[in-house]
């Protein structure tokens, strides 16, 4: 995307998300329940090099300076809000980039930490500036402004920024990625999550302990939501969290759902809904990121295994690890070529000895016995029975000891030898 396109897209997204945020404003208090608009710019900063940030910040400035007059701000106030918008977005992006250099790929808990920190810094910086401004201007509710700005922005950033960051990295693939079966499973889980959540947040305060399913469903949405994160990954989790959170907040500001009518832990109905949304967003991010981290770790382990097998295979070697205490044997290498059996069939010393030529079997068994008694490194020559007859091999073994010097494992390399 070119610079001008980026500026226009960010500004348009700001306006759209600002309008959506206005829809979720506290209906009875005229305050913002959640501020989503800054999240688009912040999300883009998460995936761009710092040298690429300027068009995003310019788009945020443009969006803010257009949006503010639409909600009644004066020209001067609009300009100040637009400058604040740029400053806080930059601050959030900079902190996140410091913790996890862009692009954030949702591959480790550190990435989640960077996103949460970036969202929090954006919210806090804005809340401090606006709170101080109100205070210095002699407005009576500076503390309330600070609190509403902080929470509304923090929740909004947690919902929108990771959503934008993950979807901005979507690459269409010919093969690979999320398969149709995972997609279908995730779709079912997502539908159940949203149905349960809607049911939970549709219960009226008067009826929720009588004829409503609402209370019984308080925790169930999280079960389905975790399934969504497991099956759909970060993109699906952020999408579901965004929709779910907007349902929760919109129903709450309409006077419905479990947080209406009671003091709740935060003592504020909307604040409880915001806390619920934040918990939802962070749970999804953490689960999806941990799954991705596990997938990456498994892929790396596979790569190591492939490299190891390629190296010993290229040299025609067989590697083994024998645990004298349990008798378990783990063999790697082209055993089919040497003894005509897959490595998995050689899982005990007895299996190995059965492949040793009869005339050598007793002496090899005795040698392993000596090794299990803690013998030093040794090399032994014997013959193994393979598909094309007996083959002479050289078996070089080494002992691995624990911290007390006790024998832990015998590891060895077997290679074919000249007759």
């Amino acid at each position: 995307m070119g610079k001008v396109q980026t500026i226009v897209v960010v500004a348009l997204a700001y306006l759209a998300l600002g309008a959506l945020s206005a829809y979720f404003a506290y209906s009875n208090e005229g305050a913002w329940g959640v501020w989503l608009a800054s999240g688009f710019g912040l999300g883009l900063l998460f995936v761009r090099e710092r040298s690429d940030w300027m068009p995003v910040l310019a788009g945020a400035f443009l969006g803010a300076i257009i949006f503010e007059p639409l909600v009644g701000s004066s020209a001067f106030d609009s300009l100040v809000y637009a400058v604040i918008e740029v400053a806080v977005t930059f601050a959030g992006g900079a902190i996140a980039a410091q913790l996890s250099p862009p692009p954030i790929r949702f591959m480790s808990p550190k990435d989640v930490g960077a996103i949460v920190a970036g969202a929090f810094v954006l919210a806090l910086t804005g809340a401090v500036i606006v709170g101080l401004w109100d205070d210095l201007s002699g407005k009576p509710e500076a503390w309330r402004t600070f609190r509403v700005w902080l929470v509304g922005n923090f929740v909004g950033m947690l919902l929108v920024a990771p959503f934008v960051a993950s979807w901005a990295q979507l690459r269409l693939k010919r093969s690979g990625g999320l398969t149709m079966s995972s997609f279908a499973g995730g779709a079912v889980a997502c539908a159940l999550f949203l149905i349960c959540l809607y049911e939970l947040f549709s219960a009226s305060p008067a009826g929720r302990f009588l004829h409503s399913l609402g209370v019984g469903l308080t925790y169930l949405p999280f079960v389905f939501f975790v399934l969504v994160a497991l099956l759909w990954g970060t993109r699906g989790a952020t999408l579901a969290a965004l929709i779910g959170a907007l349902i929760a907040i919109s129903q709450t500001v309409r006077g419905l759902g479990p947080f209406v009518g009671g003091d709740g832990i935060f003592g504020d109905t909307a604040l409880n809904a915001q806390g619920y949304a934040a918990a939802l967003a962070m749970t999804g991010l953490l689960v999806a990121t941990l799954v991705e981290a596990q997938r990456v770790a498994a892929a790396r382990a596979r790569e190591w295994k492939t490299r190891f097998e390629a190296a010993i295979g290229a040299h025609g070697l067989i590697a083994y690890e024998w645990a004298p205490d349990s008798g378990n044997l783990v063999v790697t290498g082209d055993t089919m070529h040497l003894v005509g059996l897959p490595a998995q069939k050689l899982s005990t010393l007895a299996d190995w000895l059965a492949c040793v030529a009869p005339q050598d079997r007793d002496s090899v068994a005795a040698r392993f016995g000596q090794r299990s008694a803690g013998g030093a490194a040794d090399t032994v020559r014997y013959a193994m029975l393979g598909p094309s007859g007996a083959r002479p091999v050289v078996d070089e073994a080494r002992a691995i000891h624990d911290h007390d010097g006790e024998l832990h494992r015998i590891v060895g390399i077997v290679r074919t030898a000249a007759a």
Binding site: R171, L172, K173, R174, S175, G176, G177, L178, T179, M180, S181, S182, F183, A184, A299, R302, E303, K305, T306, R307, E309, A310, G313
Partner: protein, 497 residues
């Protein structure tokens, strides 16, 4: 010697975003079996992925039709073979040209794009096609598992992609998939009109296109003409994955080709008259009589196999490239040669010739009687085996096999790797460098220059010959080292460019 009838041929078509790499070693195997192979680089391929954005399905069809018409009349039999999208093109070609001069072989044909690893949004692509400008700009990337089940092969392919090698595009424009979709629709209509015998090879676990595609083709063409082979241990790239040998075997059987080796030569007609067989044998014996084993390569298939018995410096099975090393050792060890040829005994394409292996050095002379067995097919030598009456005489004369020389092994490996690397240079070197590459490769692979110098009219052939001749006398190791160094230098230049 009477002229040998034109051999059978096969026209091989690669897949979307690919090159002949898609077809693995099928070219070589078909050549070994005596077939002439043809291929083409489809429009938009072999350069950069962006070039595919403006290519229409009709361009690919026109290209294969044009090539087909160019070669059709040169051979009594012409088989069509395609991999992935290439198989769709082969099917369209067979239907459009009423192909009856040979068989059709469809490898991993993607009539339906519904494999297990295709992404969930695959069905949404028609929506994207209608958005102006988007199909040309949107990239569709290739990712794990890259069509390969074998993890070691997959690691190699991944590394090639990461190095930016030009054997397969890392991505294709969405527009390309639109063209493939159009081609799939065309194949669905045309399949029932295909009249030639057809072999359909498909992996059960193909991640891109399920077995439904293979079933569709068999049902459309009809069980009487279509034969299906299902592979159990491969993904989409069946010519390079775990089942590649099964693919090759089935393809060779389906085109009625001989497999290299004396056994198959006995089982198959040699496609040579008695005179042709005698002439081919005489040409081989003439080379052996002068001790020029290296010269046999001109008379043989690329994977000529020579079996030398005993436990000595010459023993072993020497196939393909390793035959070059064997041939040079053979001459170097006491000027060895075969002589005193007796009356040959013919049986189909196999000939047994009594003879004697002679050699001498300062202290000893070897005279080892025995017999040579040759297998011929379509005018080419497939295999030679030496049966010594007293192999211990040869063991004593030639000495024990040398201990493996890790340096030599490493050099061989580096040379083979460099030869592969050289084919993946993204920028073509200048003509002087190309000639240097050619000359060093030939010197390392075949030794000193042989054959007649091409005429002045054959400018390219003459330049190549002269470049090779300039390296005359350079040892094999030295040529290999120079070749490896040159390829490394060219690759390094690409990286820094």
């Amino acid at each position: 010697m009477s002229a040998i009838a034109a051999p059978d041929a096969a026209f091989l078509i690669h897949g979307l975003g690919g090159t002949q790499y898609d077809l693995g070693s099928m070219h070589k195997r078909l050549k070994n079996a005596g077939l002439v192979t043809y291929s083409l680089t489809l429009p938009g391929h072999g350069t950069k992925p962006e070039d595919l954005a403006t290519v229409a399905m009709e361009d690919w069809v026109d290209a294969v039709v044009s090539k087909y018409r160019e070669i059709r009349d040169q051979h009594p039999v012409l088989h069509l073979m395609g991999m992935c999208m290439g198989s769709l093109l082969a099917a369209v070609l067979a239907e459009r040209e009423h192909h009856a001069k040979g068989n059709l072989i469809m490898l991993a044909a993607p009539v339906y794009i519904d494999g297990w690893a295709t992404p969930w949004y695959r069905s949404l692509r028609p929506l994207l096609y209608v958005m102006p400008g988007l199909p040309q700009r949107m990239k569709i990337e290739e990712e794990d598992p890259f069509g390969i089940k074998n993890e070691q092969l997959r690691a190699i392919v991944k590394a090639k992609f990461e190095r930016g090698e030009n054997f397969h595009y890392r991505w294709v424009p969405l527009e390309c998939l639109r063209q493939v979709d159009r081609l799939r629709a065309m194949v669905m209509k045309a399949a029932s009109k295909i009249r030639c015998p057809t072999l359909i090879v498909h992996a059960r676990e193909d991640e891109l296109t399920s077995l439904r595609s293979a079933h569709f083709m068999v049902e459309s063409i009809g069980g009487a003409r279509a034969r299906m082979v299902i592979l159990e241990d491969s993904y989409h790239m069946i010519c390079v994955d775990n089942d590649r040998e099964i693919v090759a075997k089935n393809v060779l059987e389906f085109v009625g080709a001989a497999l290299p080796g004396a056994g198959s030569a006995l089982a198959n007609e040699p496609r040579m008259s008695a005179q042709e067989l005698t002439a081919a044998l005489n040409a081989v014996l003439a080379k052996l009589d002068t001790g020029d084993l290296g010269g046999l390569r001109e008379l043989a298939i690329p994977d000529l196999s020579w079996v030398q018995p005993g436990v000595n410096a010459l023993s072993g099975v020497h196939v393909g490239k390793s035959f070059a090393g064997f041939a040079s050792r053979f001459s170097a060890l006491g000027n060895a040669r075969f002589t005193a040829f007796g009356t040959p005994v013919f049986n189909r394409g196999v000939v047994l010739v009594p003879t004697q292996l002679v050699a001498s050095n300062d202290s000893a002379r070897l005279e080892s009687p025995g017999a040579l067995l040759f297998a011929f097919y379509a005018g080419k030598l497939l295999e030679a085996r030496w049966f010594a009456d007293q192999v211990e005489l040869e063991d004593a004369f030639f000495g024990k096999p040398p201990a493996p020389d890790s340096t030599a092994v490493a050099l061989d490996a580096a040379f083979v790797a460099a030869a592969v690397e050289a084919k993946t240079l993204t920028r073509a070197p200048d003509n002087a460098t190309l000639l240097e590459l050619y000359a060093l490769y030939k010197q390392a692979d075949a030794g000193d220059v042989r054959g007649d110098r091409p005429s002045v009219l054959d400018v390219v052939g003459r330049a190549k010959y002269d470049a090779w001749a300039q390296r005359k006398g350079v040892s094999r190791d030295e040529a290999m080292r120079s070749y490896v160094a040159l390829v490394e230098k060219l690759k390094a230049q690409e990286v820094t460019a």
